[in-house]
Protein backbone atom coordinates (compact mmCIF):
# COMPACT_ATOMS: atom_id res chain seq x y z
CA UNK A 1 0.00 0.00 0.00
CA UNK A 2 2.78 2.38 0.91
CA UNK A 3 4.56 1.42 -2.29
CA UNK A 4 1.39 2.08 -4.24
CA UNK A 5 1.00 5.53 -2.73
CA UNK A 6 4.62 6.26 -3.54
CA UNK A 7 4.09 5.13 -7.10
CA UNK A 8 1.01 7.28 -7.36
CA UNK A 9 2.79 10.40 -6.19
CA UNK A 10 5.72 9.57 -8.43
CA UNK A 11 3.38 9.34 -11.39
CA UNK A 12 1.69 12.58 -10.53
CA UNK A 13 5.09 14.16 -10.04
CA UNK A 14 6.46 12.96 -13.35
CA UNK A 15 3.40 13.98 -15.30
CA UNK A 16 3.43 17.40 -13.68
CA UNK A 17 7.12 18.06 -14.14
CA UNK A 18 7.77 16.80 -17.63
CA UNK A 19 7.23 19.53 -20.20
CA UNK A 20 4.78 18.73 -22.92
CA UNK A 21 7.50 18.74 -25.55
CA UNK A 22 8.72 15.45 -24.14
CA UNK A 23 7.59 12.33 -25.85
CA UNK A 24 4.13 11.18 -25.12
CA UNK A 25 5.45 7.68 -24.85
CA UNK A 26 5.40 6.20 -21.39
CA UNK A 27 8.66 4.33 -21.75
CA UNK A 28 10.92 6.86 -23.46
CA UNK A 29 11.50 9.08 -26.45
CA UNK A 30 14.59 7.72 -28.19
CA UNK A 31 13.71 6.20 -31.57
CA UNK A 32 16.17 4.51 -33.86
CA UNK A 33 15.02 4.29 -37.47
CA UNK A 34 17.10 1.98 -39.64
CA UNK A 35 16.76 2.63 -43.37
CA UNK A 36 18.74 1.54 -46.44
CA UNK A 37 19.93 5.07 -47.20
CA UNK A 38 19.39 8.09 -44.98
CA UNK A 39 18.88 10.82 -47.58
CA UNK A 40 16.42 8.85 -49.69
CA UNK A 41 14.51 7.77 -46.61
CA UNK A 42 14.08 11.32 -45.31
CA UNK A 43 12.22 12.06 -48.52
CA UNK A 44 10.36 8.79 -48.80
CA UNK A 45 9.06 8.67 -45.22
CA UNK A 46 8.91 12.39 -44.47
CA UNK A 47 5.28 12.36 -43.27
CA UNK A 48 5.84 9.43 -40.92
CA UNK A 49 9.14 10.76 -39.56
CA UNK A 50 7.69 14.25 -39.13
CA UNK A 51 4.76 12.89 -37.17
CA UNK A 52 7.21 11.08 -34.89
CA UNK A 53 9.15 14.32 -34.37
CA UNK A 54 5.96 16.23 -33.74
CA UNK A 55 4.91 13.68 -31.12
CA UNK A 56 8.09 14.55 -29.24
CA UNK A 57 10.33 11.68 -30.18
CA UNK A 58 14.05 12.03 -30.47
CA UNK A 59 14.36 10.34 -33.87
CA UNK A 60 17.73 9.11 -35.11
CA UNK A 61 17.65 7.93 -38.70
CA UNK A 62 20.61 5.70 -39.48
CA UNK A 63 21.66 3.64 -42.45
CA UNK A 64 21.28 -0.05 -41.83
CA UNK A 65 24.84 -0.64 -42.95
CA UNK A 66 26.21 1.90 -40.46
CA UNK A 67 28.46 -0.29 -38.33
CA UNK A 68 28.42 2.12 -35.38
CA UNK A 69 24.77 1.38 -34.58
CA UNK A 70 24.35 -0.74 -31.45
CA UNK A 71 21.26 -1.29 -29.34
CA UNK A 72 22.91 -1.73 -25.94
CA UNK A 73 25.99 -0.44 -24.23
CA UNK A 74 27.02 -2.17 -21.03
CA UNK A 75 23.62 -3.80 -20.86
CA UNK A 76 21.68 -0.54 -21.04
CA UNK A 77 19.39 0.20 -23.91
CA UNK A 78 20.53 3.10 -26.09
CA UNK A 79 17.10 3.45 -27.66
CA UNK A 80 13.57 2.97 -26.40
CA UNK A 81 12.07 2.15 -29.77
CA UNK A 82 13.40 0.77 -33.02
CA UNK A 83 11.77 1.06 -36.43
CA UNK A 84 13.25 -1.30 -39.00
CA UNK A 85 12.52 0.12 -42.45
CA UNK A 86 15.39 -1.67 -44.15
CA UNK A 87 13.94 -5.06 -45.12
CA UNK A 88 16.60 -5.99 -47.64
CA UNK A 89 19.54 -5.38 -45.33
CA UNK A 90 21.46 -8.61 -44.72
CA UNK A 91 23.21 -7.22 -41.67
CA UNK A 92 22.06 -4.43 -39.42
CA UNK A 93 24.32 -1.99 -37.65
CA UNK A 94 27.34 -3.42 -35.88
CA UNK A 95 26.49 -6.99 -36.93
CA UNK A 96 23.48 -7.05 -34.64
CA UNK A 97 22.21 -10.57 -34.10
CA UNK A 98 18.64 -11.79 -33.75
CA UNK A 99 19.41 -12.32 -30.07
CA UNK A 100 20.35 -8.65 -29.75
CA UNK A 101 16.90 -7.66 -30.89
CA UNK A 102 15.26 -10.21 -28.62
CA UNK A 103 17.26 -8.86 -25.69
CA UNK A 104 16.16 -5.40 -26.71
CA UNK A 105 12.51 -6.45 -26.52
CA UNK A 106 13.07 -8.39 -23.31
CA UNK A 107 14.45 -5.28 -21.65
CA UNK A 108 11.34 -3.31 -22.61
CA UNK A 109 12.27 -1.92 -26.00
CA UNK A 110 9.59 -1.65 -28.67
CA UNK A 111 10.00 -2.49 -32.33
CA UNK A 112 8.28 -1.66 -35.57
CA UNK A 113 9.39 -4.08 -38.27
CA UNK A 114 8.47 -3.34 -41.86
CA UNK A 115 9.14 -5.91 -44.56
CA UNK A 116 8.93 -5.95 -48.32
CA UNK A 117 9.07 -8.47 -51.13
CA UNK A 118 12.87 -8.34 -50.92
CA UNK A 119 13.14 -9.47 -47.30
CA UNK A 120 16.48 -10.66 -45.98
CA UNK A 121 16.90 -13.99 -44.22
CA UNK A 122 18.01 -12.17 -41.12
CA UNK A 123 14.70 -10.40 -40.70
CA UNK A 124 12.79 -13.58 -41.52
CA UNK A 125 14.60 -15.30 -38.67
CA UNK A 126 13.84 -12.34 -36.43
CA UNK A 127 10.12 -12.48 -37.27
CA UNK A 128 9.91 -16.23 -36.71
CA UNK A 129 11.01 -15.63 -33.12
CA UNK A 130 7.74 -13.78 -32.59
CA UNK A 131 5.53 -16.34 -34.37
CA UNK A 132 5.38 -14.41 -37.62
CA UNK A 133 6.46 -16.30 -40.73
CA UNK A 134 6.85 -14.25 -43.88
CA UNK A 135 6.01 -15.90 -47.16
CA UNK A 136 8.57 -17.28 -49.59
CA UNK A 137 11.06 -15.07 -51.34
CA UNK A 138 9.75 -13.57 -54.54
CA UNK A 139 6.11 -13.58 -53.52
CA UNK A 140 3.98 -10.52 -53.04
CA UNK A 141 0.47 -9.73 -51.91
CA UNK A 142 -1.87 -9.52 -54.89
CA UNK A 143 -5.52 -8.59 -55.08
CA UNK A 144 -7.26 -8.25 -58.41
CA UNK A 145 -10.39 -6.76 -56.91
CA UNK A 146 -9.03 -4.22 -54.46
CA UNK A 147 -5.96 -2.34 -55.60
CA UNK A 148 -4.73 1.19 -56.03
CA UNK A 149 -6.26 2.14 -59.36
CA UNK A 150 -4.12 5.15 -60.10
CA UNK A 151 -0.90 3.17 -60.20
CA UNK A 152 0.59 -0.06 -61.48
CA UNK A 153 -2.36 -1.26 -63.52
CA UNK A 154 -0.86 -4.54 -64.61
CA UNK A 155 0.05 -6.65 -61.57
CA UNK A 156 -2.19 -5.27 -58.81
CA UNK A 157 0.43 -5.53 -56.08
CA UNK A 158 -0.61 -2.31 -54.34
CA UNK A 159 -3.49 -3.78 -52.43
CA UNK A 160 -6.27 -1.76 -50.87
CA UNK A 161 -6.69 -3.67 -47.61
CA UNK A 162 -9.68 -3.00 -45.40
CA UNK A 163 -10.13 -5.99 -43.12
CA UNK A 164 -9.03 -4.72 -39.72
CA UNK A 165 -9.28 -6.78 -36.58
CA UNK A 166 -11.55 -5.17 -34.01
CA UNK A 167 -8.91 -4.20 -31.47
CA UNK A 168 -9.98 -0.82 -30.08
CA UNK A 169 -6.86 -0.65 -27.94
CA UNK A 170 -4.73 -0.32 -31.05
CA UNK A 171 -7.01 1.25 -33.62
CA UNK A 172 -8.73 4.56 -33.11
CA UNK A 173 -12.55 4.59 -33.32
CA UNK A 174 -12.82 6.71 -36.51
CA UNK A 175 -10.65 4.23 -38.40
CA UNK A 176 -12.63 1.25 -37.10
CA UNK A 177 -15.93 2.95 -37.90
CA UNK A 178 -14.94 3.97 -41.41
CA UNK A 179 -16.70 1.60 -43.81
CA UNK A 180 -14.85 2.70 -46.92
CA UNK A 181 -11.33 2.73 -45.54
CA UNK A 182 -8.55 1.65 -47.83
CA UNK A 183 -5.13 0.92 -46.41
CA UNK A 184 -2.70 0.66 -49.30
CA UNK A 185 -0.20 -2.08 -48.88
CA UNK A 186 2.60 -3.16 -51.18
CA UNK A 187 4.74 -5.98 -49.90
CA UNK A 188 4.89 -9.48 -48.58
CA UNK A 189 2.35 -11.58 -46.72
CA UNK A 190 2.99 -13.44 -43.49
CA UNK A 191 1.29 -16.26 -41.67
CA UNK A 192 0.65 -15.65 -38.00
CA UNK A 193 0.59 -18.37 -35.39
CA UNK A 194 -2.87 -18.13 -33.87
CA UNK A 195 -1.79 -20.38 -30.99
CA UNK A 196 0.33 -17.59 -29.55
CA UNK A 197 -1.86 -15.43 -27.32
CA UNK A 198 0.69 -12.62 -27.36
CA UNK A 199 0.33 -12.22 -31.13
CA UNK A 200 -2.73 -10.81 -32.86
CA UNK A 201 -3.35 -10.12 -36.53
CA UNK A 202 -4.31 -6.50 -37.04
CA UNK A 203 -4.74 -6.21 -40.79
CA UNK A 204 -5.50 -9.30 -42.85
CA UNK A 205 -6.34 -9.97 -46.45
CA UNK A 206 -9.86 -9.87 -47.81
CA UNK A 207 -11.41 -12.77 -49.72
CA UNK A 208 -9.80 -11.83 -53.00
CA UNK A 209 -6.33 -11.27 -51.57
CA UNK A 210 -3.65 -13.87 -52.08
CA UNK A 211 0.09 -14.20 -51.97
CA UNK A 212 1.82 -15.14 -55.18
CA UNK A 213 4.53 -14.28 -57.59
CA UNK A 214 3.57 -11.15 -59.51
CA UNK A 215 5.99 -11.85 -62.33
CA UNK A 216 4.98 -15.37 -63.41
CA UNK A 217 1.24 -15.73 -63.13
CA UNK A 218 -1.74 -13.47 -63.18
CA UNK A 219 -3.80 -15.92 -61.21
CA UNK A 220 -2.88 -18.60 -58.71
CA UNK A 221 -2.31 -21.94 -60.35
CA UNK A 222 -4.32 -24.81 -59.03
CA UNK A 223 -1.17 -26.69 -58.03
CA UNK A 224 0.12 -24.15 -55.59
CA UNK A 225 -3.14 -23.09 -53.94
CA UNK A 226 -2.61 -25.55 -51.11
CA UNK A 227 0.34 -23.70 -49.69
CA UNK A 228 -0.75 -20.28 -50.70
CA UNK A 229 -1.70 -17.70 -48.15
CA UNK A 230 -4.98 -16.05 -48.89
CA UNK A 231 -7.94 -14.39 -47.30
CA UNK A 232 -8.09 -14.05 -43.57
CA UNK A 233 -5.13 -16.34 -42.92
CA UNK A 234 -2.95 -13.94 -44.88
CA UNK A 235 -1.46 -11.50 -42.42
CA UNK A 236 -0.54 -8.02 -43.57
CA UNK A 237 0.10 -6.34 -40.24
CA UNK A 238 0.33 -8.19 -36.90
CA UNK A 239 0.91 -6.92 -33.40
CA UNK A 240 2.84 -8.67 -30.67
CA UNK A 241 3.09 -7.75 -27.01
CA UNK A 242 5.64 -9.55 -24.90
CA UNK A 243 5.20 -10.58 -21.29
CA UNK A 244 7.36 -7.62 -20.33
CA UNK A 245 4.76 -5.42 -22.11
CA UNK A 246 7.19 -4.51 -24.87
CA UNK A 247 5.43 -4.15 -28.19
CA UNK A 248 6.41 -5.30 -31.65
CA UNK A 249 4.53 -4.55 -34.86
CA UNK A 250 5.18 -6.57 -37.99
CA UNK A 251 4.06 -4.95 -41.22
CA UNK A 252 4.71 -6.68 -44.50
CA UNK A 253 5.17 -3.41 -46.33
CA UNK A 254 7.61 -0.53 -46.02
CA UNK A 255 5.53 1.33 -48.59
CA UNK A 256 2.72 1.43 -46.01
CA UNK A 257 4.71 4.15 -44.25
CA UNK A 258 5.74 6.00 -47.39
CA UNK A 259 4.56 9.46 -48.38
CA UNK A 260 3.37 8.13 -51.72
CA UNK A 261 0.75 5.83 -50.23
CA UNK A 262 -0.14 8.07 -47.29
CA UNK A 263 -1.00 10.85 -49.73
CA UNK A 264 -2.72 8.57 -52.20
CA UNK A 265 -6.36 9.15 -53.02
CA UNK A 266 -8.83 7.93 -50.34
CA UNK A 267 -5.93 6.55 -48.37
CA UNK A 268 -6.35 5.63 -44.72
CA UNK A 269 -2.64 4.92 -44.39
CA UNK A 270 -2.01 8.10 -42.43
CA UNK A 271 -4.33 7.35 -39.49
CA UNK A 272 -3.43 3.67 -39.62
CA UNK A 273 0.31 4.31 -39.46
CA UNK A 274 -0.24 6.79 -36.66
CA UNK A 275 -2.30 4.26 -34.72
CA UNK A 276 0.18 1.41 -35.01
CA UNK A 277 3.19 3.59 -34.29
CA UNK A 278 1.46 5.16 -31.29
CA UNK A 279 0.58 1.72 -30.02
CA UNK A 280 4.00 0.25 -30.70
CA UNK A 281 5.83 3.14 -29.03
CA UNK A 282 3.67 2.98 -25.88
CA UNK A 283 1.71 6.15 -26.49
CA UNK A 284 -1.69 4.53 -26.07
CA UNK A 285 -3.37 1.54 -24.41
CA UNK A 286 -0.73 1.43 -21.68
CA UNK A 287 -2.47 -0.06 -18.68
CA UNK A 288 -1.02 0.33 -15.24
CA UNK A 289 -1.90 -0.84 -11.78
CA UNK A 290 -1.45 2.07 -9.39
CA UNK A 291 -2.21 0.29 -6.13
CA UNK A 292 -4.09 -2.60 -4.68
CA UNK A 293 -5.15 -3.39 -1.14
CA UNK A 294 -7.18 -5.88 0.82
CA UNK A 295 -8.50 -5.95 4.34
CA UNK A 296 -11.28 -7.42 6.39
CA UNK A 297 -14.59 -6.07 5.20
CA UNK A 298 -15.67 -5.54 8.80
CA UNK A 299 -12.65 -3.35 9.52
CA UNK A 300 -13.02 0.29 8.59
CA UNK A 301 -11.09 0.89 5.39
CA UNK A 302 -9.44 4.08 6.61
CA UNK A 303 -7.99 2.68 9.80
CA UNK A 304 -6.69 -0.57 8.40
CA UNK A 305 -5.32 0.82 5.18
CA UNK A 306 -1.97 1.49 6.80
CA UNK A 307 -1.23 -2.18 7.28
CA UNK A 308 -2.29 -5.04 5.09
CA UNK A 309 -2.92 -8.30 6.90
CA UNK A 310 -0.79 -11.23 5.83
CA UNK A 311 -3.35 -13.75 6.98
CA UNK A 312 -7.08 -14.22 7.32
CA UNK A 313 -9.29 -16.81 8.92
CA UNK A 314 -11.26 -19.28 6.85
CA UNK A 315 -14.50 -17.90 5.40
CA UNK A 316 -13.67 -14.33 6.31
CA UNK A 317 -15.26 -11.63 4.20
CA UNK A 318 -12.59 -9.36 2.83
CA UNK A 319 -12.64 -6.24 0.75
CA UNK A 320 -10.27 -6.15 -2.23
CA UNK A 321 -9.51 -3.05 -4.24
CA UNK A 322 -7.31 -2.34 -7.21
CA UNK A 323 -6.64 0.98 -8.93
CA UNK A 324 -6.13 0.96 -12.68
CA UNK A 325 -5.09 3.69 -15.07
CA UNK A 326 -4.76 3.71 -18.81
CA UNK A 327 -2.53 6.05 -20.77
CA UNK A 328 -3.62 7.67 -23.98
CA UNK A 329 -3.64 11.14 -25.47
CA UNK A 330 -0.72 12.25 -23.34
CA UNK A 331 -2.53 11.65 -20.04
CA UNK A 332 -3.43 8.96 -17.57
CA UNK A 333 -7.13 8.25 -17.56
CA UNK A 334 -9.25 5.99 -15.36
CA UNK A 335 -9.53 2.59 -16.93
CA UNK A 336 -13.19 1.59 -17.20
CA UNK A 337 -14.07 -2.03 -17.92
CA UNK A 338 -16.48 -4.64 -16.66
CA UNK A 339 -14.24 -7.67 -16.87
CA UNK A 340 -11.59 -7.12 -14.20
CA UNK A 341 -11.47 -10.32 -12.19
CA UNK A 342 -10.05 -11.34 -8.85
CA UNK A 343 -8.72 -14.82 -8.26
CA UNK A 344 -7.85 -16.72 -5.11
CA UNK A 345 -5.79 -19.77 -5.96
CA UNK A 346 -4.07 -22.51 -4.02
CA UNK A 347 -2.85 -24.69 -6.90
CA UNK A 348 -6.46 -24.68 -8.14
CA UNK A 349 -8.49 -21.52 -8.45
CA UNK A 350 -10.93 -21.43 -5.55
CA UNK A 351 -12.55 -18.12 -6.41
CA UNK A 352 -12.82 -16.09 -9.58
CA UNK A 353 -14.98 -13.04 -9.17
CA UNK A 354 -15.59 -9.96 -11.22
CA UNK A 355 -14.70 -6.74 -9.46
CA UNK A 356 -17.02 -3.78 -9.73
CA UNK A 357 -15.89 -0.37 -10.79
CA UNK A 358 -16.51 2.22 -8.09
CA UNK A 359 -16.23 5.94 -8.50
CA UNK A 360 -13.19 7.27 -6.73
CA UNK A 361 -13.75 10.91 -6.08
CA UNK A 362 -10.20 11.83 -5.16
CA UNK A 363 -8.56 11.23 -8.50
CA UNK A 364 -9.57 11.70 -12.11
CA UNK A 365 -6.77 9.47 -13.40
CA UNK A 366 -7.58 6.33 -11.47
CA UNK A 367 -10.45 3.88 -11.60
CA UNK A 368 -10.94 1.81 -8.48
CA UNK A 369 -12.29 -1.71 -8.72
CA UNK A 370 -13.79 -3.15 -5.58
CA UNK A 371 -15.11 -6.48 -4.44
CA UNK A 372 -16.42 -7.88 -1.15
CA UNK A 373 -15.18 -11.42 -1.19
CA UNK A 374 -15.99 -14.33 1.08
CA UNK A 375 -12.83 -16.38 1.32
CA UNK A 376 -13.05 -20.14 0.84
CA UNK A 377 -13.72 -22.30 3.88
CA UNK A 378 -10.33 -23.85 3.43
CA UNK A 379 -7.03 -23.06 5.10
CA UNK A 380 -3.65 -22.84 3.38
CA UNK A 381 -1.43 -20.43 1.51
CA UNK A 382 -3.47 -18.67 -1.13
CA UNK A 383 -2.47 -16.31 -3.91
CA UNK A 384 -4.73 -13.33 -4.46
CA UNK A 385 -4.23 -12.20 -8.01
CA UNK A 386 -5.63 -9.92 -10.64
CA UNK A 387 -4.38 -11.29 -13.93
CA UNK A 388 -5.71 -9.01 -16.62
CA UNK A 389 -4.53 -9.69 -20.15
CA UNK A 390 -6.44 -8.23 -23.06
CA UNK A 391 -5.35 -7.94 -26.66
CA UNK A 392 -3.65 -4.63 -27.27
CA UNK A 393 -3.58 -3.53 -23.65
CA UNK A 394 -0.58 -3.87 -21.38
CA UNK A 395 -0.98 -6.92 -19.23
CA UNK A 396 -1.44 -6.67 -15.50
CA UNK A 397 -0.53 -9.46 -13.13
CA UNK A 398 -0.77 -8.49 -9.49
CA UNK A 399 -0.14 -11.19 -6.93
CA UNK A 400 -0.25 -11.32 -3.16
CA UNK A 401 0.55 -14.38 -1.15
CA UNK A 402 -1.80 -14.55 1.81
CA UNK A 403 -2.17 -17.27 4.40
CA UNK A 404 -5.66 -18.36 5.37
CA UNK A 405 -5.59 -19.77 8.87
CA UNK A 406 -8.00 -22.26 10.41
CA UNK A 407 -10.03 -21.12 13.39
CA UNK A 408 -8.29 -21.21 16.77
CA UNK A 409 -9.61 -23.73 19.25
CA UNK A 410 -11.52 -20.99 21.07
CA UNK A 411 -12.95 -19.41 17.93
CA UNK A 412 -15.36 -22.18 17.08
CA UNK A 413 -18.98 -21.70 18.21
CA UNK A 414 -19.52 -23.33 21.61
CA UNK A 415 -22.98 -24.67 20.81
CA UNK A 416 -24.19 -25.64 17.39
CA UNK A 417 -27.77 -24.80 16.60
CA UNK A 418 -28.03 -27.95 14.52
CA UNK A 419 -27.28 -30.04 17.59
CA UNK A 420 -29.93 -28.52 19.90
CA UNK A 421 -32.30 -31.53 19.58
CA UNK A 422 -29.51 -33.84 20.69
CA UNK A 423 -28.69 -31.64 23.68
CA UNK A 424 -32.39 -31.63 24.54
CA UNK A 425 -32.60 -35.40 24.04
CA UNK A 426 -29.78 -36.18 26.43
CA UNK A 427 -31.11 -33.84 29.12
CA UNK A 428 -34.60 -35.24 28.72
CA UNK A 429 -33.13 -38.68 29.35
CA UNK A 430 -31.54 -37.41 32.59
CA UNK A 431 -34.90 -36.00 33.62
CA UNK A 432 -36.61 -39.26 32.73
CA UNK A 433 -34.10 -41.17 34.81
CA UNK A 434 -34.71 -38.91 37.82
CA UNK A 435 -38.45 -39.28 37.35
CA UNK A 436 -38.12 -43.06 37.26
CA UNK A 437 -36.01 -42.99 40.44
CA UNK A 438 -38.65 -40.90 42.20
CA UNK A 439 -41.46 -43.18 41.03
CA UNK A 440 -39.47 -46.21 42.14
CA UNK A 441 -38.51 -44.87 45.58
CA UNK A 442 -41.86 -43.34 46.49
CA UNK A 443 -43.84 -46.12 45.00
CA UNK A 444 -46.83 -46.84 47.25
CA UNK A 445 -48.33 -50.26 47.33
CA UNK A 446 -52.04 -49.78 47.13
CA UNK A 447 -51.94 -50.81 43.53
CA UNK A 448 -50.52 -54.30 44.17
CA UNK A 449 -53.07 -54.72 46.99
CA UNK A 450 -55.95 -53.79 44.79
CA UNK A 451 -54.67 -55.93 41.95
CA UNK A 452 -54.09 -59.01 44.11
CA UNK A 453 -57.73 -59.72 44.86
CA UNK A 454 -58.47 -59.42 41.15
CA UNK A 455 -55.78 -61.86 40.11
CA UNK A 456 -56.46 -64.32 42.86
Amino acid sequence: MRLGALLGTLLAFSSACLPSTFARSVTGDRVLVLVPAVEAALHEYSVFLDSLERRGFDVSVRAAANSSVVLHTDGDRLYDHVALLAPAAKRLGAALSVQDFIDFVDTGGNMLVAASAALSDFQRRLAVQFGVEFDKRGTAVIDHSHYLRTKAPSNHTIVAASRLSNIPAVLSPPLLADEHRAIYFEGIAHSYDSQIPLLAPLLTGSRSTYSGSPATAERPSSKSTQEQLSGRSLGLVSVFQSRSNARVVFAGSTALFSDALISAEHSANGPFVTDISQWAFQEKAVLREIAHRHHLASAASSSSSSEQPDHYRVANVISYEIDLSVYHDDKWHPYIADDVQFEATMLDPYLRLTLNHTQSADSDAVATYHGDIKLPDRYGTFTFSVNYKRTGLSSIDVQDTVAIWPLRHDEYPRFLSAAYPYYAGSFVMVAGFLALCAAWLWNTEPAPKSSKPKSS
Partner: protein
Amino acid sequence: MPASAHVLAKLARDYAATTPQRLKVIDTYMAFCVAVGLIQFLYCALVGTFPYNAFLAGFGSAVACFVFAANLRIKTNPSNSHQFGTSSEGAFAEFVLCHIVLHFVVSNFLG
Protein backbone atom coordinates in the same frame (compact mmCIF):
# COMPACT_ATOMS: atom_id res chain seq x y z
CA MET B 1 -60.35 -60.36 13.37
CA PRO B 2 -62.64 -60.73 16.35
CA ALA B 3 -60.34 -63.52 17.62
CA SER B 4 -57.23 -61.34 17.49
CA ALA B 5 -59.13 -58.40 18.99
CA HIS B 6 -60.23 -60.71 21.73
CA VAL B 7 -56.64 -61.83 22.32
CA LEU B 8 -55.42 -58.25 22.44
CA ALA B 9 -58.17 -57.22 24.83
CA LYS B 10 -57.35 -60.14 27.09
CA LEU B 11 -53.66 -59.26 26.94
CA ALA B 12 -54.37 -55.69 27.98
CA ARG B 13 -56.66 -56.77 30.73
CA ASP B 14 -54.20 -59.32 32.08
CA TYR B 15 -51.36 -56.79 31.83
CA ALA B 16 -53.33 -54.24 33.84
CA ALA B 17 -54.37 -56.85 36.36
CA THR B 18 -51.27 -58.96 36.95
CA THR B 19 -48.26 -56.67 36.31
CA PRO B 20 -46.82 -55.05 39.43
CA GLN B 21 -46.95 -51.25 39.42
CA ARG B 22 -43.16 -50.89 39.50
CA LEU B 23 -42.87 -52.87 36.27
CA LYS B 24 -45.57 -50.70 34.72
CA VAL B 25 -43.53 -47.64 35.64
CA ILE B 26 -40.49 -49.22 34.00
CA ASP B 27 -42.52 -50.03 30.88
CA THR B 28 -43.68 -46.43 30.63
CA TYR B 29 -40.08 -45.30 30.99
CA MET B 30 -38.97 -47.68 28.22
CA ALA B 31 -41.66 -46.37 25.89
CA PHE B 32 -40.45 -42.86 26.67
CA CYS B 33 -36.86 -43.90 25.79
CA VAL B 34 -38.02 -45.30 22.44
CA ALA B 35 -39.89 -42.07 21.66
CA VAL B 36 -36.92 -39.83 22.46
CA GLY B 37 -34.54 -42.01 20.45
CA LEU B 38 -36.91 -42.13 17.48
CA ILE B 39 -37.33 -38.35 17.43
CA GLN B 40 -33.56 -37.84 17.37
CA PHE B 41 -33.11 -40.43 14.67
CA LEU B 42 -35.75 -38.80 12.46
CA TYR B 43 -34.16 -35.40 13.02
CA CYS B 44 -30.80 -36.79 12.00
CA ALA B 45 -32.24 -38.41 8.89
CA LEU B 46 -33.90 -35.14 8.01
CA VAL B 47 -31.13 -32.62 8.73
CA GLY B 48 -27.99 -34.69 8.24
CA THR B 49 -25.28 -36.05 10.42
CA PHE B 50 -23.33 -32.83 10.83
CA PRO B 51 -22.69 -32.73 14.58
CA TYR B 52 -22.28 -36.48 14.49
CA ASN B 53 -20.88 -36.74 18.00
CA ALA B 54 -23.91 -34.92 19.37
CA PHE B 55 -26.22 -37.27 17.51
CA LEU B 56 -24.36 -40.31 18.79
CA ALA B 57 -24.48 -38.99 22.34
CA GLY B 58 -28.18 -38.10 22.29
CA PHE B 59 -29.31 -41.22 20.48
CA GLY B 60 -26.96 -43.49 22.44
CA SER B 61 -28.25 -42.03 25.68
CA ALA B 62 -31.79 -43.05 24.77
CA VAL B 63 -30.73 -46.53 23.66
CA ALA B 64 -28.62 -47.14 26.76
CA CYS B 65 -31.41 -45.97 29.07
CA PHE B 66 -33.72 -48.39 27.31
CA VAL B 67 -31.26 -51.25 27.82
CA PHE B 68 -30.70 -50.42 31.50
CA ALA B 69 -34.45 -50.22 32.10
CA ALA B 70 -34.92 -53.60 30.39
CA ASN B 71 -32.27 -55.11 32.66
CA LEU B 72 -33.86 -53.59 35.73
CA ARG B 73 -37.20 -54.95 34.65
CA ILE B 74 -35.83 -58.48 34.19
CA LYS B 75 -34.10 -58.44 37.56
CA THR B 76 -37.01 -57.04 39.54
CA ASN B 77 -39.75 -59.08 37.88
CA PRO B 78 -41.19 -61.31 40.67
CA SER B 79 -41.58 -64.17 38.22
CA ASN B 80 -37.80 -64.18 37.65
CA SER B 81 -37.04 -64.19 41.39
CA HIS B 82 -35.92 -67.84 41.35
CA GLN B 83 -33.02 -66.79 39.07
CA PHE B 84 -31.90 -63.50 40.63
CA GLY B 85 -33.06 -63.73 44.23
CA THR B 86 -35.53 -61.35 45.76
CA SER B 87 -33.39 -58.21 46.35
CA SER B 88 -34.80 -55.54 44.06
CA GLU B 89 -32.85 -52.86 45.97
CA GLY B 90 -29.54 -54.27 44.74
CA ALA B 91 -30.77 -54.26 41.16
CA PHE B 92 -31.94 -50.67 41.53
CA ALA B 93 -28.55 -49.62 42.95
CA GLU B 94 -26.80 -51.15 39.93
CA PHE B 95 -29.27 -49.34 37.67
CA VAL B 96 -28.56 -45.97 39.30
CA LEU B 97 -24.78 -46.51 39.16
CA CYS B 98 -24.91 -47.42 35.47
CA HIS B 99 -26.97 -44.29 34.77
CA ILE B 100 -24.54 -42.02 36.55
CA VAL B 101 -21.67 -43.39 34.47
CA LEU B 102 -23.77 -43.22 31.31
CA HIS B 103 -24.79 -39.60 31.69
CA PHE B 104 -21.26 -38.61 32.57
CA VAL B 105 -20.02 -40.15 29.33
CA VAL B 106 -22.88 -38.69 27.28
CA SER B 107 -22.39 -35.17 28.57
CA ASN B 108 -18.70 -35.42 27.68
CA PHE B 109 -19.41 -36.73 24.24
CA LEU B 110 -22.13 -34.22 23.48
CA GLY B 111 -19.57 -31.58 22.46
